[in-house]
Symmetry: C2
Subunit: 307 residues, 2 copies
């Protein structure tokens, strides 16, 4: 057993942080870590928290934590940062803010950079969840700053997705555009003390009333504290009542993961083959000179590679 | 030659609309259409217009069009809609709004649904541009509603990317988060008549001053008309001065496209192989029962498939 894995299983924080970095950066040790902890996983419940910037997700999570702790959960938070696919840098403003809100030694918190490539987030997040799960955290919250595709990826990895809205103008339409109304299992109108909360609540109800899923819609206010306890209890109920549908989802997630990983392996092999194949640059020249069209070039080239 | 291709080459609008739908939906005819028009392409200039919802992109484009027409351009606009990867439906609100702004028979306008899968947009857009290019449109504007990954994809397909900001609170930070400051060749502070425009202008200058690229930053106001002509002239200058760097970009784009298409073909073959391989469900069962970890399963399975 790797020393870092021993540290993880003992819940030692520095090992946990390091192990999460390793899987997040997809370092070569990832494989060994996951291999050595995989059989210890499967008991944690996972929640995704999403919503546009300014919706007050971090504050809301901060208020929910004490209630979850009363219910006996050992909590970890993974903050998934939107990372630029170009510079690779993470924006840490929100994280800093969150750390000041959640000033609690019993809660483990870690930022993850969401790698540019779609699919990268799922892989990092799945493995980070496994590490925390093996370390004994039984409620893992993945929080992300609303950014379309990212939310959808996260919602596919967690047991329950909570979408946070606020009653300020535009959030409603923005959210629809981002497809947020389709990924949630539970919707919260945060800042319910503000004017417009009821209107927003009703329009969210209208929107998702047309869907087959019957997600829960609730109001809460981090300012007045109203609805916080009800929200925590609803989440607790949902993640524990899923039963067979949860097993089904887990299987589907593993299937998805296996498929992604196999495709990745094959893709890497293929890119390597392309790089070393002189036919590749021939085809590009012919494309540039319009001697062949992209469809035909792709077909011929893939036939050569698969031969 | 397909009748629809004949229509496209004659610039006949119904053929154009239908051909764009065909490539957007990736129907089987796409291949033949692209094959038959590919040698007629390569003269159009392409611009991507992006920015968050409410930044006034559509109005701005509406004001720029008459100026571009004065410069002699025949203009087509492709509006790329953010499509839900789940329902597949496009949100057409913005498009309807745009159609009322741009009420000009000489401009060809068409909405495209951006398919959920990343990479799907590039493919659709590249081929739609080719169709318009072959039809004689020499300035093609791809307009999209700000949504992170989508913008980046579009910026890789067009010659020039224009990012539109407005001086309302939050847009600045939102934009940084979405990585918008990295994809632009030209930045416009729209609604420059509003308070805060100068502050925003300066912070955008600050932000991109740290980058190696030296993009242009301008102010404009659709309301007062200030800066519109300057913006159009700047765009015209940039798309026509690129010279050798433009040739380089075109080659890089074709390379990227060929690689994507080859990977897609191989991926489809592989998924087919997976579906029909009994080992696949064996591995999933073993994963569910934690008898094997995902890394090992993926490696073993890909070795079986590639054998």
């Amino acid at each position: 057993m790797l020393p870092i894995v021993k540290g993880v299983l003992e819940g030692e924080r520095r090992s946990l942080a390091r192990a999460i970095s390793i899987v997040d950066n997809d370092e070569s040790e990832s494989q060994i870590i996951i291999h050595q902890i995989f059989h210890k996983t499967g008991s944690a419940k996972t929640i995704g928290f999403t919503g546009s910037a300014g919706s007050g997700k971090s504050s809301l999570i901060g208020k929910l934590i004490p209630v979850f702790q009363t219910l006996g959960y050992k909590i970890a938070i993974l903050a998934v940062d939107p990372t630029s696919p170009i510079t690779g840098g993470a924006i840490l403003g929100d994280r800093v803010r969150m750390q000041t809100i959640i000033d609690d030694d019993t809660v483990f918190m870690r930022s993850m950079a969401s790698r540019g490539a779609i699919g990268g987030v799922s892989k990092s997040l799945r493995n980070a969840i496994r590490i925390l799960d093996a370390a004994g955290y039984d409620l893992i919250i993945a929080e992300s700053v609303g950014a379309g595709q990212l939310e959808i990826e996260i919602s596919r990895v967690v047991d329950l997705t909570v979408v946070v809205f606020t009653p300020y103008t535009g959030d409603n339409i923005q959210a629809i555009k981002a497809g947020l109304t389709e990924i949630g299992d539970l919707y919260v109108i945060n800042k319910a003390d503000l004017a417009g909360a009821t209107t927003l609540f009703n329009s969210i109800l209208d929107l998702i009333g047309n869907t087959e899923r019957k997600p829960v819609v609730l109001k809460a206010s981090t300012k007045t504290g109203s609805g916080i306890k009800e929200l925590a209890l609803s989440i607790d109920k949902l993640i524990n009542s899923a039963g067979s549908s949860y097993k089904e989802k887990e299987k589907r997630m593993l299937e998805e993961e296996l498929k992604d990983m196999v495709l990745n392996i094959v893709e890497l092999k293929l890119l390597d083959m392309l790089k070393n194949n002189s036919k590749y640059s021939d085809y590009i020249d012919r494309l540039v000179n319009k001697k062949i069209d992209p469809y035909r070039a792709a077909e011929e080239l893939s036939a050569i590679l698969l031969r």
